[in-house]
Each structure stands twice: as structure tokens, then as C-alpha cells.
């Protein structure tokens, strides 16, 4: 009785081809290479010195070289590992802790919810850098401290979002229906709450990666992360910042790397948001065949016996 119902129809001509499918694959491959085998991208090592000192970008050295003759391109490539490792792991810790805390608080009785959420509020009030500084002062610098700091810092954000969603989902009719047919609380949480929370969590996580990259770089910039001479965007940025007037390439390329990573993280978030919409996006359980361009099993011709359906189902599960 309102706007004509268009939602029931599957959009026919959604442009999911070409670029939309290639870009995520390229991104995943790139991140994996940077994390596991940066040597594939750069012939020279990050600490190998050459004869060219402070040479500007050239065909030989794409990003130029620094005071010790080290290749800036190589350092930028190898510098990705500590930053990406710290921020991805940190966000992973935050997602796990935040979702657990949020589901617990959302499903808990009112008093426990109040206790948990006020604790989360306190954590939220602490600046990331302060937490990191305390941790580094007590546990020493390094990737591990940064991961823990990021995890602690980002947990409250996830916890709050998840808690709000759980409270909303608890009154959803399909969750109530699960109660009616006697589903246990844990089962309902796993089968209904988590899958329906995933969209928000995944989208939030991907933009959190952007923030985490910025924070990790900041810590390294301040000298609290990876120690020189090991390559790292933050510390290289700090090292090159003083000579920006004379050798611009030293600080520019690590800086650009940080910027592009954050942009890509946020862009990925937007893409995931539409991709994870259950109405016309990928679904977690059948995302791979779709991603590779296969349509899901289309509607079979009506009137077929029930046999194929059951075998299909078993086949898909087995």
C-alpha cells in the first residue's frame, strides 16, 4: 500500500562483472604477498646498501635511495609487513573480544549489561596512544605490544555496536520464533545473531583496519614500534621527515603508502557493505562460487520431484 513492492524482485542487471570482481582479488593477493613474501616485489633487500646515496627516483631505484644507499621502494614494500601485521592482528583481537563482549552484554540481564557496558565506556574514554604507551613502557616495544594496544583500544567500539544490534535482534521475530521451537540461547546466538551481526562487524572492522594502520604508523613514527634499521612506514617517515626539503622522496613514499592503505581499507568497507546485504549480495556460505562468477543454482523447472532437492542439499553440504 506504499511504494510498489520492488524489493521482492532480484535486480536483473547489476554490474558485478569486470572490475568489481577483479579488484578484491587483486587486493587480497597483494596483502598476502606483502605479508608473506615481500621479496617477490623487490629485488633488493630493505637493509642492503648500494653506492647511490640519496639518489632521487630513477629507473634503477623507483622511489630513490636514502642516506645509506638503501632502496626506498624496497623499504616501503618490506615496511608494509609490520604495519599490516600489527593492525590486522590488532583488529582481529578487537573483533573477537568486542563481539564476545557485545553478545554477552546484549543477551545478559539488565544489571550485568549495565556493568559490562559501563566498563566498555571507561575503556572507550582512554586514548589509544595512552594505552599503547603504558603497554610499551611495561612490556617493551615491538609488534606484540602494538597488537595488544590496538586490540584493547578497538574492542569497546565493536562491543558497543554489537551490543546495540543484539538488543535489536533479540526482539526480531525470527529470534522469537527460534525460542518458540525451543532453540537454546547459545544456539540462537550462533545461528541467528552472529550471521546477522556479521555485516556490521565486517564493515566496521575494515574501516578499523584503516585507523589501526594510522595508529601503528604513529607509534613507529614516535619510535615506539619497529626499531631501525628494520623497515617500517612510521619510522621511515620519521627518518625522512627532517630532510623533506632536500630529499622529498624519503618521507613521501612511506607516507603515501599509509594514505593509500587507509583509503583502500575504507573503500573495502563500502564494498563489503553492499556485498554482504542478504538481499542481493554475496552470502558468507556461498560467496566463493558467486565470486568466481557462477550463479547459484537457479530455480529449477517447477513440478520436479523432490528427489533432486535433497540430493542437491546433501551434495552441497558434503
Amino acid at each position: 500500500m506504499t511504494v510498489p513492492l520492488l524489493g521482492t524482485a532480484r535486480p536483473a542487471g547489476r554490474a558485478r562483472g569486470g572490475l568489481g570482481r577483479v579488484v578484491p582479488v587483486v587486493l587480497v593477493v597483494l596483502v598476502l604477498v606483502l605479508l608473506l613474501a615481500p621479496g617477490l616485489l623487490s629485488r633488493t633487500g630493505p637493509v642492503d646498501t648500494t653506492d647511490a646515496f640519496l639518489s632521487p627516483p630513477s629507473a634503477e631505484h623507483w622511489f630513490g635511495t636514502d642516506q645509506l644507499g638503501r632502496d626506498v621502494f624496497s623499504r616501503t614494500v618490506f615496511g608494509a609487513r609490520p604495519v599490516l601485521l600489527a593492525s590486522l592482528l590488532g583488529v582481529l583481537v578487537a573483533v573477537v573480544a568486542g563481539v564476545a563482549l557485545g553478545v554477552l552484554a546484549g543477551a545478559a540481564p539488565r544489571w550485568l549489561n549495565a556493568v559490562l557496558m559501563r566498563a566498555v565506556d571507561v575503556l572507550l574514554a582512554l586514548p589509544v596512544l595512552l594505552i599503547a604507551l603504558i603497554l610499551i613502557a611495561t612490556a617493551g616495544s615491538g609488534v606484540r605490544s602494538i597488537v595488544i594496544a590496538l586490540g584493547v583500544a578497538f574492542t569497546p567500539g565493536f562491543a558497543r555496536v554489537v551490543e546495540a544490534s543484539v538488543r535489536r535482534l533479540r526482539t526480531a521475530e525470527y529470534v522469537q520464533a527460534a525460542h518458540v521451537f525451543g532453540s537454546t540461547g547459545l544456539r540462537t546466538a550462533v545461528r541467528h545473531l552472529l550471521p546477522n551481526l556479521m555485516t556490521e562487524v565486517v564493515v566496521l572492522a575494515s574501516s578499523a583496519v584503516g585507523w589501526a594502520v594510522l595508529t601503528a604508523s604513529t607509534l613507529s613514527f614516535l619510535g615506539l614500534g619497529v626499531q631501525l634499521p628494520q623497515p617500517d612506514w612510521g619510522s621511515d617517515l620519521a627518518a625522512g621527515a627532517t630532510s623533506l626539503a632536500t630529499s622529498w622522496w624519503l618521507a613521501t613514499f612511506p607516507g603515501l603508502a599509509v594514505t593509500i592503505t587507509i583509503l583502500l581499507a575504507n573503500f573495502t568497507g563500502d564494498q563489503l557493505m553492499s556485498a554482504l546485504d542478504p538481499r542481493d549480495g554475496l552470502r558468507l556460505r556461498q560467496s566463493m562460487p558467486r565470486l568466481l562468477g557462477r550463479r547459484p543454482a537457479g530455480p529449477a523447472e517447477p513440478g520436479r520431484s523432490t528427489g533432486p532437492v535433497t540430493t542437491n542439499r546433501d551434495g552441497a553440504v558434503g
Partner: protein, 683 residues
């Protein structure tokens, strides 16, 4: 000369799914002082027609053809400013949901003033005076005080009155009322419709009444245009249309409505299939795929409107008048030994109370609680269908939720097959749930959007750890077949189905555990009439097949009259009347039941209509009236009603009623105070 003349109107909306044409070559006219009813199912384009007139289309929408002449001006040729000057000034629109169409952060006074000052540029005093005037016009009690009220402080009916008042501020010549009463209770609906009629007469406005409800149309429109698939398929004076519908769609619509005279033993007529999507339609009658009279010419050419009588036009190649109507062979129900008394009660509700605690007002304010259900006792017998009817806020949904164990009663007990839920162990309770299932109102919300249909239907089995994977798959296939869905539905997702199909999926899921009792909370109120009938028939055939007991909760009395064996009428947390559906409808004993029955808009324009049967509004359940809770709206109320709570008591052969002054049967002598039963609490 008509006030509004629409000729060949076409509207298109660009969507991701393609170009939708919700209004396709629509022509009609409305004269001053006349009401044109625009009737159709959801997606038939009736709302978009109204929106196209005042050019309030959704993003991507545009009027692409035809003309709209209003008071001698062609609206399609006007620029945006010109249309804006007309909107709210000469043309007013009332929309369906007064909850969302009033701004919750501003007082109704300021919203009324805004409507006035946009077009009249008067002073604040003038605007205030006008606001009070229109509020009086729409029957708002104490209008001057209400100017400072916020929308949430008013009831739904009062908010709709405010919406109408805002529409009337500038004395429009044309009022477009888009489902003005769909969100309201029957008794309030009757009040609002009567108000619209009265205003039309007094202000000699033209009214376009958009609705899906034939009953509303019958009583309040002078002429009716039936829309289907973006087209007007039949247009006629109301009486002519109801007496002699020509188009096959109109005919089918009438047949599929459950009305009060229907034989309960016969299945409802249905219209198979679902309304068309208005994307890339080929030539041919849009109703042809669902029409049992369709022939080749229907599928190859568009029928044009042809006149068949005074002002009566239809667009059908094979109208009702030309062929003899072969009566559809309708399935008769198997005569089963039904319901009441045949066997013992499966569910026993004994003096159940449910209170919901509210937040205190202020730190040290008194404890407050909503008395959702106060002292209801009833029994549900095996194999019967018990209907529970009442207006919103009467506690019928809470009863249903308590029956399936979603809520626990604050006081009283609910027992299934003799054993009470309270004190049952967790595990035993979980097993018990197999026997009690629920169908929810909104099938879109009741199915997890991330599960396939097969997973949804199999879920109760998985949760209860019944059967192996293969066995469950077999059960799912069987159930989908039982509810009339194709087998390939199993691997699709709920959003790929229409509302009616989703309700079938929900039904299949409710039946997966082979329950004994199914509680259905407004099972069809979200569906179109033609689809409603399909679901109602399905519910009845499944009842016969699986031996189910139904508790159907609804606000719709004609639906329950058709579906239920016994009916309980609830008012503000109390059961006021309980009897077989024939008894309750044929000879209602409680004044509230009688008023409710009278408020139903009947699809019969020849009936004389009195004033709205139930005046006033539902009192607050936080602080209900003393004694009989209905006394504030009851024409028969006496001092006794304020003092003493009437008890639900049968009177000889008559069905039970909780009233001191029942409409039929002896008036009970005043019960001595020392015999006052347990169920009545002094308040």
C-alpha cells in the same frame, strides 16, 4: 465540470531492476463534493496515482505522459513552484501512518501553524486561531490545550485527526486520502471515516479515497475505480459496481473476501498467483495470468475501457455479463466432529495476569505497570479453532505469547494437557515447546534473512535434535509440498518470495515439529485480500490434515467469523465475551462486541450507516477504569459498572459474557459482595 480531471496519466520510476510503470494510462475525474474510491491491492499503482497528481514521486520517478487538470489548470505543465503552491493549499493529502507523518519533535500547534503560514502568511495569532478552528472541525476535544501537545501524547486516532486537520488548514478543494484508516482499529476507523464524510459535505471538497478495503469503499465512496497492475480495470458508481461487477478481477476480489454471511464449511474463493511486477510488461491484460476466464485474446492484446452502463466502464474481453458464471467447484470441508466439548481442553488458562513494569516517573515516583492482561481464564479444546479478537492494546498478543511460552504470566497458570509451565524444568519445557508453535504476523521479519528456506523450515528439527540430515530434508520437502510451494523453493532465500509465499514458509516451519497447537498472531493482516484467502484456505486444510488446534489472534472480526469455531472478545486486558462464533456474531451479549460488529465496514453500499458505534478511545492500560473497564465507552453503563468488576459468567444456555447489563439474556441480579469471585480485584 469536474474539479480534477486525469487523462491518460503515465508515471515511470527508474529502479535498479528496470523501468517500472506504476501508473499506466490512467484516466478519471472527480467533481466537487464527490468521493472517488481508488481501490486495489498493494502494487496496483493506486498510491502512485495519488502521488503523481501532486507530483510527490520517489527518486527516479516522473510523470511521462497524460494530463492532470485541476480547477482548470494543467498540473503537468506547471513548474515545481506552481505545484508546491497548490500542495497543502488547494490539494491536501493524508497519508496512512500518522505516527511517521507528524514530526515527533514539534508540537501539533506548531505543525498546524506551519501549514497555515506557508500559504497564508498570517500572523501567529491568526494561525493559532485557525489551528483551533480546524482542530474543532475534526472533533478534537479541548483543541486549544492540544496545541501544545506533542504527537506521542495523542492516540493513533487523535493523531490521524491532527493529520486531517493539517490537511484542512487552507480549505483545500481536493483531499487525497491514502489509506487514511488502515493503521487504525475498527472502532476508530469508523469514527475517522465518518469524519471524512462529514467534512466533505460541509466543505464540499472532492475526495480521492485510496484504499485496499472494499468495505471502506462501499460505505464512503460515490464512485469507485478498481486498479490492477497500474491500470484502471473498472470504474462505476459504487452501487452499480457492488451490485454488478463486470471485470473478472473485481468479481474475483469480491469472491475472495471473507464476509459475515459466508458459509464456514466452504473454502474461500482464491485468486491464484500474485500481482504482476510492473517491469517490462508485454501486451495483454495484466490480470490474464491469474484469470480463470483468460483466453488467447487476453494474452495478446490490451483490453480498453468500454462503457456498459451509466458511468460504468470496464476493461475486460470476457466480462461477467457475457458468459454464464460457472460456479467454481470449491472444496467443502470434511465434516469432522468439531471442537467444543468433543474432547478435553488441551490448553487451560486460569486467571492469568501479565503486568509489564514501566520506568518510574522521577526517582521516587510510584511504581507503574501496564496491565496487559488481567484475569483471563479460558480453555482451548483439541481440534478447535479459538479466535481472540480485540482492538490494539487489548492484550490479545500477550495472551498468545504466553500460550507458547514467550512470556511468563505474572499471576495465574497456563497448563498444556494438564501440566503447568511454571515449575517445569528447562529441558522438559524445551520438549514441551514441540507441541506449541507460533505463526507470526510479519513473515518477512519472522524468517532469518540469511537462511535458505530449507534451513528455515528444518530449523525447529535441528534445534530439537530430531532426525538425521536426510530425514530432515525429507520432512522439509514434504512440508513445502503440503503448504503448496514448489520443491525448488528449498534452496532459495525468504526475500525472493512474496508475502503470501513467505507466510506459507512460516507455516511450514511452524508445522515441522508436528505441533498440537498453533498460535497464529494476525496471520494474514499483512497480506492482500486475494492472497489472504489462499492462506486462510491453507490453514484450514492443514488443520484437517494434521489435526491441529488453532488459536487465531486477530483484529478482524469477519476473518475470525470465517475461521474460528469459538471466539473470545478481549477489551483492555479482560475477556469480555466468549462463545461459538455463531453466537458471538448472531447475538452479541456484550455492548463492546456489538459495537465492534457494527463498526466493521461492510462491502455493501446499500446498507444505511448510522454513526460510529463505538465512541471514545481505549483508556490507558496503566491506569484502567475501575469496575468494568468498558464503562467509559459503554452506552449502558451505570453506577454499578464503576464499582464492581463484572465476571465472565455463562447464563443458562447463553454464552459467557462479562457485563452487568448484557444485551441478551437476563440481567444478573446484583451479586452480594461476599460472593464476589476470585477473579475480580478491587481497583
Amino acid at each position: 465540470m469536474s474539479l480534477l480531471e486525469v487523462v491518460g496519466l503515465r508515471t515511470e520510476i527508474e529502479t535498479r531492476g528496470g523501468r517500472v510503470r506504476p501508473v499506466d494510462d490512467v484516466s478519471f475525474s472527480v467533481a466537487a463534493g464527490e468521493t472517488l474510491g481508488l481501490v486495489g491491492e498493494s502494487g496496483s499503482g493506486k498510491t502512485m496515482t495519488g502521488m503523481s497528481i501532486i507530483r510527490l514521486l520517489p527518486p527516479g520517478g516522473a510523470v511521462v505522459g497524460g494530463s492532470v487538470r485541476f480547477d482548470g489548470v494543467d498540473l503537468t505543465a506547471l513548474d515545481d513552484d506552481g505545484v508546491r503552491r497548490l500542495r497543502g493549499n488547494d490539494i491536501a493529502m493524508i497519508s496512512q501512518d500518522p505516527m511517521t507523518s507528524l514530526n515527533p519533535t514539534r508540537t501539533i500547534g506548531s505543525q498546524l501553524r506551519e501549514a497555515y503560514r506557508i500559504h497564508r502568511h498570517g500572523s501567529r495569532q491568526e494561525a493559532d486561531a485557525r489551528a483551533v478552528e480546524v482542530l474543532e472541525l475534526v472533533g478534537m476535544p479541548r483543541p486549544r490545550e492540544r496545541l501544545a501537545a506533542f504527537p506521542h501524547e495523542l492516540s493513533g486516532g487523535m493523531r490521524q485527526r491532527v493529520m486531517i486537520a493539517i490537511g484542512l488548514v487552507c480549505e483545500p478543494k481536493l483531499l487525497i486520502a491514502d489509506e487514511p484508516t488502515t493503521a487504525l482499529d475498527v472502532s476508530i476507523q469508523a469514527q475517522i471515516l465518518e469524519l471524512l464524510d462529514d467534512l466533505k459535505r460541509r466543505l464540499s471538497m472532492a475526495v480521492v479515497l485510496i484504499t485496499h478495503d472494499m468495505g471502506v469503499i462501499a460505505g464512503h465512496a460515490d464512485r469507485v475505480a478498481v486498479m490492477y497492475g497500474g491500470r484502471i480495470v473498472e470504474e462505476a458508481p459504487t452501487r452499480a459496481l457492488f451490485a454488478d461487477p463486470q471485470h473478472r478481477y473485481t468479481e474475483a476480489l469480491f469472491e475472495s473476501m471473507p464476509d459475515l454471511e459466508l458459509d464456514r464449511q466452504v473454502d474461500l474463493a482464491t485468486i491464484p498467483g500474485t500481482p504482476p511486477r510492473l517491469v517490462a510488461l508485454g501486451p495483454g491484460c495484466r490480470f490474464a495470468p491469474r484469470c480463470r476466464f483468460a483466453q488467447d485474446d487476453c494474452r495478446s492484446a490490451d483490453p480498453d475501457l468500454v462503457a456498459v452502463g451509466t458511468d460504468h466502464e470496464h476493461a475486460c474481453f470476457h466480462p461477467r455479463g457475457t458468459t454464464t458464471t460457472a460456479d467454481l467447484p470449491r472444496r467443502r470441508r470434511r465434516e469432522v466432529a468439531q471442537g467444543a466439548g468433543a474432547s478435553g481442553p488441551v490448553l487451560e488458562v486460569t486467571d492469568v495476569h501479565k503486568r509489564f513494569e514501566l520506568r518510574r516517573r522521577g526517582l521516587l515516583g510510584p511504581r507503574r505497570a501496564v496491565q496487559a492482561v488481567s484475569g483471563v481464564s479460558l480453555q482451548v479444546h483439541a481440534g478447535e479453532t479459538l479466535g481472540i479478537v480485540g482492538e490494539s492494546g487489548c492484550g490479545k498478543t500477550t495472551i498468545g505469547r504466553m500460550l507458547v511460552g514467550l512470556e511468563q504470566p505474572t499471576e495465574g497458570t497456563i497448563a498444556f494437557e494438564g501440566s503447568s509451565f511454571a515449575g517445569m524444568g528447562r529441558l522438559a519445557f524445551r520438549r514441551r515447546r514441540r507441541d506449541l508453535q507460533m505463526m507470526f504476523q510479519d513473515s518477512a521479519a519472522a524468517l532469518d534473512p540469511r537462511m535458505t528456506v530449507a534451513a528455515c523450515v528444518a530449523e525447529p528439527l535441528v534445534a530439537q535434535q530430531v532426525g538425521t540430515r536426510a530425514e530432515r530434508a525429507a520432512v522439509v520437502a514434504e512440508l513445502l509440498d503440503a503448504v503448496g510451494l514448489p520443491a525448488d523453493a528449498a534452496d532459495r532465500y525468504p526475500h525472493e518470495f512474496s508475502g503470501g509465499q513467505r507466510q506459507r514458509i512460516a507455516m511450514a516451519r511452524a508445522l515441522a515439529l508436528r505441533p498440537k497447537v498453533v498460535v497464529a498472531d494476525e496471520p494474514v493482516s499483512a497480506l492482500d485480500i486475494s492472497v489472504q484467502a489462499q492462506i486462510l484456505n491453507l490453514m484450514r486444510s492443514l488443520q484437517d490434515r494434521f489435526g491441529l488446534t488453532y488459536v487465531v489472534i486477530s483484529h478482524d472480526l469477519s476473518l475470525l467469523k470465517y475461521l474460528a469455531d469459538r471466539i473470545g472478545v478481549m477489551y483492555l486486558g479482560r475477556l469480555v465475551e466468549l462463545g461459538t462464533s455463531e453466537e458471538v456474531y448472531g447475538a452479541p451479549r456484550h455492548p463492546y462486541t456489538a459495537g465492534l460488529i457494527e463498526s466493521i465496514p461492510l462491502p455493501d453500499p446499500t446498507l444505511e450507516r448510522g454513526s460510529a458505534a463505538l465512541g471514545g478511545e481505549l483508556p490507558s492500560a496503566v491506569d484502567p477504569p475501575s469496575g468494568c473497564r468498558f464503562r467509559t465507552r459503554c452506552p449502558r453503563a451505570t453506577a454499578l459498572c464503576a464499582e464492581e468488576v463484572p465476571v465472565l459468567a455463562p447464563d443458562g444456555d447463553l454464552h459467557a459474557v462479562a457485563c452487568h447489563h448484557p444485551l441478551t439474556g437476563a440481567q444478573p441480579a446484583r451479586t452480594p459482595l461476599d460472593l464476589q469471585p476470585q477473579g475480580s480485584e478491587p481497583r
